[in-house]
């Protein structure tokens, strides 16, 4: 057991405690960025002027009419930018563009005394466009050879030779849609400038340091002139990892120009039409199996839909490539990837960060091929699991490979899968119009940022003379319970009750140069840093105590009098990582998080509507830092994943009409999130036991993203149920998302294959 992972006796980590802000949440007192507006005097409100074209040159912009609208104070355009006119760090995202690259892109912003005046002002701005042709789908981009960024390849062995000798070779295509984050709190920033020209931006951002960096380069300021604070977010899910930066920059620019506080808050329509989403992917694949169903070879080409700019698309693609294998050993494998450039929002981070898309490819392959091989899909999956000593396609040894098998067996046992499979078969025989299906899928998810330098974190811990403790760290709170865990880590490391520790909002002037709160690794990284800071203080106090066993308050008071420092900056970097992006090989991940889910669905043959009857999950969180928080991440991640795979149906107008490129699902009424009706009726979640992780703080594991991919079990269950409408031995192709309509067409095809009556409209 490492020093990092060892837990002291009576540790506060591992205790079941509610979210640290729960009492504030439920009483409406928890403050979010936009709640500050009511407490701030003289705020100006911003409204965007959005492009009505997917691709066009801006040939003229007349702001004067906006100034005729009462209340309008300022129109922000490219001419107002003192620094770099760019909202990103790759410098391919002009904040005020001369060429609009997607429908809804903002051309300029109007600031006014009221939101209503800003809205009216924006509609008065006169913009001339010269429309250009636009690419909307991945297929259009492929046909037009429109790509951006790197085109990596991962793999080992000789794929062609292996496919040539494989007993069974199949090929196909898999396509999956993206996903709108639909964080309940839309993008929001509130900026002000003080007497010294210091810019203070309150932002709903997962990455305050990068927000600071972007604000600084837009305003041509040094980083130390900009402070960014994030109180908390009403959800992020990756959508505020980089995409908050531009709105913060607009607010800061407005504040700098007017000398007044400026609020930028997107309404839902603006948020959906302006911000990036989960990448949709397209994959072509060839796969070989031997007679026993062992994977022999896989050759696949992934194309992600990056949208108009690179954003995080290269990193998302890297993680997708690194997760095609999931828990499966493929002796000869080649995975290539590329990023389509289309005239859509710039697709970005979303919980799983490409991992879900990569995993879906091989799970889709296995789900489709199992009937063709005549092997039960559960058996097909299980017999291809990694064993200790094998390497991933990117050359990392698969440590703790047996945990996937342990979780698998535990799910099969605990969920009584064998008996239920028989019950389901009986039910399906007895019911012509209703079929049930059971899907079991595993998850292996690599933890750490693929890009090694990001795997570092800082913390600042203060102990005050009265013994109370204040913790700052570089991570942001978006509901995932990071702050709760950090409080527990600090209390454990200092040996004080949880009630003695308070956590202050995340600010760039407390902890600098932080990484985004992302990649599930914020508890690992910031936990390591908080623990380091606390242990520095604790070590000093141990000396002061000199074995006397003084009570905490007395010890702290004495240390102060002895002039012993009671605060410390903590630092942590993940050891043992290396990554060569050119050869696409290395050990990018500290460890893997494992999990297995079994899902049972019931499908109505008349409509394709379905319900999730039962879900059983065994998931590996290491030794949990905070069980209630981890349970929430597992359940919530699962349902969000099920939303992506079965319900959430992101659509753009791909017609050649005037609205080409417009998001057609730009509201909660047209873009449906999971509701109570999608909650599994029976939902059993167990955490894997004996799961201690040496390489992470107090033996825990990251939990933010991995559970999302457990929802692939629902998709596979739907495939099974659809297949039950048709003959055995037939591959079932299922679109993603598997909406009721998609399920209907899949089961209808199965029904037709069985020679059943052709229904109307088919």
């Amino acid at each position: 057991m490492s020093d990092l992972s060892r837990r002291p006796a009576a540790a506060v980590v591992g205790e079941t405690v509610p979210h640290e802000s729960a009492a504030l949440h439920v009483t409406g007192r928890a403050l979010y960025t936009d709640d500050l507006v009511a407490r701030t005097k003289g705020v100006l409100h911003a409204w965007p002027v959005q492009s009505p074209h997917a691709h066009a040159r801006v040939t003229g912009l007349r702001a004067e009419p906006a100034y005729d609208v009462p209340g309008v104070v300022r129109v922000l355009t490219a001419d107002d930018v003192p620094g770099l006119n760019d909202s990103g760090t790759k410098h391919d995202e002009p904040l005020f563009p001369a060429e609009v690259m997607y429908h809804g892109q903002v051309v300029c912003w109007v600031l006014a005394e009221t939101l209503e005046a800003a809205r009216r002002g924006a509609s008065a701005v006169d913009v001339d466009y010269e429309p250009l042709s636009a690419l909307l789908t991945i297929r259009e981009a492929i046909d037009a050879d429109s790509f951006q960024g790197v085109r990596p390849t991962a793999g080992h062995g000789d794929v062609e030779a292996a496919l040539a000798r494989a007993a069974h070779v199949f090929e196909g295509e898999t396509e999956m849609a993206g996903q709108e984050h639909f964080y309940l709190e839309t993008q929001a920033s509130l900026a002000d400038v003080d007497d010294a020209g210091q810019v203070f931006v309150q932002s709903s951002t997962q990455h305050p340091s990068e927000t600071q960096e972007v604000v600084a380069h837009v305003l041509d300021l040094a980083a130390h002139q900009v402070t960014v604070q994030c109180l908390r977010m009403g959800g992020g899910f990756g959508g505020k990892e980089v995409q908050a930066n531009g709105y913060a920059a607009v607010a800061a620019l407005g504040a700098a120009l007017t000398g007044r506080p400026v609020r930028v808050r997107l309404n839902r329509t603006q948020d959906i039409t302006m911000t990036g989403k989960r990448h949709g992917f397209h994959a072509t694949w060839r796969v070989g199996f031997d007679d026993d169903g062992h994977l022999v070879a896989l050759d696949t080409l992934l194309t992600s839909d990056g949208g108009w700019s690179l954003d995080l698309s290269e990193a998302v693609l890297a993680r997708a490539i690194c997760h095609v294998d999931n828990t499966y050993w493929i002796p000869d494998v080649r995975i290539r990837g590329r990023i389509a450039k289309t005239h859509k929002t710039s697709q970005t981070a979303f919980r799983g960060f490409g991992g879900p898309q990569g995993m879906l490819v091989l799970e889709d392959v296995l789900g489709r091929c199992a009937p063709l091989l005549g092997i039960d899909p559960l058996d097909l999956r299980r017999r291809n699991f990694y064993v200790e000593g094998q390497e991933t396609p990117y050359g990392q040894p698969v440590r703790h490979a047996a945990r996937a098998a342990t979780a698998w067996d535990q799910v099969l046992d605990g969920a009584d899968v064998a008996a239920r499979a028989r019950e389901i078969a009986d039910f399906n025989t007895a019911h012509e119009h209703t079929k049930r299906g059971l899907g079991v899928t595993p998850v292996k998810f690599g933890i750490s940022f693929n890009f090694t330098p990001l795997n570092q974190a800082g913390a600042l811990v203060h102990v005050y003379k009265d013994g109370s403790v204040l913790v700052n760290h570089g991570g942001t709170e978006m509901g995932q319970g990071l702050h709760t865990k950090m409080l527990q880590v600090a209390a454990t490391a200092l040996g004080v009750p949880l009630s003695r520790v308070r956590l202050a909002p995340t600010r760039t002037d407390k902890v600098p140069n932080t990484s985004a709160t992302a990649a599930s690794s914020s508890a690992d990284l910031n936990g390591g840093a908080v623990k380091d800071a606390c242990e520095q203080i604790r070590d000093r106090l141990v000396e002061v105590d000199a074995g006397r066993g003084l009570p905490w308050e007395q010890l702290v008071a004495e240390a102060y009098l002895e002039r012993v420092s009671l605060f410390a900056a903590g630092y942590y970097r993940t050891e043992g990582l290396h990554w060569d992006a050119d050869t696409f090989r290395g050990t990018p991940f500290k460890y893997f998080a494992y999990g297995v889910a079994a899902a049972e669905v019931e499908v109505d043959g008349f409509t394709g509507a379905y319900r999730t009857r039962r879900v059983d999950i065994v998931h590996d969180v290491g030794d949990s830092l905070s069980p209630l928080v981890d349970l929430g991440q597992i359940e919530g991640g699962f349902v969000q994943g099920a939303g992506w795979l079965t319900l959430e149906d992101l659509r753009w107008d791909t017609s050649d009409g005037e609205q080409r490129g417009r998001v057609t699902t730009q509201a909660a009424s047209t873009y449906k999130l999971p509701s109570f009706s999608e909650m599994p009726e029976v939902f059993n979640v167990t955490m894997l036991e004996r799961a201690h992780e040496e390489g992470a703080v107090y033996g825990s594991k990251a939990v933010g993203e991995p559970p999302l991919m457990l929802a692939l079990s629902v998709r596979e269950a739907l495939r099974q149920a659809c297949g039950a409408f048709g003959p055995a031995g037939r591959a079932v192709d299922l679109a993603s998302p598997a909406t009721p309509e998609a399920v209907y067409w899949a089961l209808d095809a199965a029904r037709l294959a069985a020679g059943m009556r052709e229904p109307a409209g088919a």
Binding site: H433, T664, S669, P680
Partner: protein, 492 residues
Amino acid sequence: MTGIPDVMVNGEALALAGVTPHTTALDFLRDRGLTGAKESCAEGECGACCVLVARPPADGSPGTEWTSVNACLVAAASLAGQDVVTSEGLGTPDRLHPVQREMAERGGSQCGYCTPGFVCSMAAEYYRHDRGPAASSNGTHGDNGFDLHALTGNLCRCTGYRPIRDAAYALGPPAPDDALAVRRTAPAPAPPPTRLEADGAAFVRPADLAAALDLLADHADARAVAGATDLGVEINLRGARPGLLVQIDRLEELRGLRWSDAELVIGAALSLTEIERRLAGRLPLLDELFWQFASRPIRNGATLGGNLGTGSPIGDSPPVLLALAADLVLVSTSGERRVALADYFTGYRTSVREPGELIKEVVIPLPVAGLTAFHKIAKRRFDDISSVAVGFALDVRDGVVRSARIGLGGVAATPVRAREAEATLNGRAWAQETVDEAADVLAATGTPIDDQRASARYRAAMLGQALRRLYAEELVATGSTDGSHGTGGGVA
């Protein structure tokens, strides 16, 4: 200013000074520092804005009911003289309300943004006067009688809902000295007649129907508003700014509900919740409609008058009301007239209703045919908009279809009767062969479109499948294949 009465919020009188007719209740509350309620979708879908309003109990009993309302949709001015409780007013971090305590302790909040709205919707159901321990829990009811449909208008992106459900199902009865529970025994404040003018527009809550009709007759740009569940969306997301809002939801003349042997008359300004509770399952086809009609907070505001008045081709009530052969009573300063719903719609969001005319009542002839069903096709089971919807009312006796009425939504610019499919069924044996033939006719009805909700092909297929499903389910229900079916009289 015009001396508009204050709103009582969490026991404190808040002046409506400075609001315009288009200011939402949500913006009003937030501007005054009550930032617990949030804007997330601005169209009544997510419930982050939900607050409690003291209203007369929906079932018509005396007293007050704490009703969950989407503050993002209703006008601030419409709350004049009324009592509102927000999440801040339910409890404090030191003295959590029982709903807040269950939500907090069970992990019911993660990011917390949806939580104040959830807490209000949950509190509304917590205080429902006829909620009590249920004999058994089922999919949507807890042992404590909590109806999960109370929360279908609230979205959470973090938790996956299980802990929220568990919190709801763990709630006991309110304590005897609980102030909000005690408050239920006193009458809800009647909203006083109100007039507010600002920003070039006016909001009027008239004293009676005659005054409302005068306003509508005199002002071409007047919009009648009840729950604002449609108009609120137009204002928030599409920039609509009507010059005159006439608030009609509490006009007694529009709020009757009367039975006779021959007909059921439903006031056009009764909320869907009020109709649902007052009918109490006595008309099974309407009962099938209610839970599928939006969400509880929306049903607390939405009315049949509004659903028919907007004339949307995908409204949920028209297919059902067409199947029920409903008539509408229209009223204006010129008097009343009665039109068949089947003759009411004239085109996309247009109808025979004249400017200045209001829908007063919906009249449903009785008895209702014995075999009825409402099939709504949507992506999500709770709170979605249909791609197509089908209402059936079939009178099947001695194995023969004596009469068939089928109402359709989502297949044309207006809701329509499926006359050809009806004709195919009428007088024929209620058998698979007939059903298949009629299903094919039904599937060819109208001109459904491709859009983000569904393909035209799926919509057409679903029309036919609806009839096949009706037949198959009825076979199962009656346990017979020989055509011996129950007789009419769906109304008990």
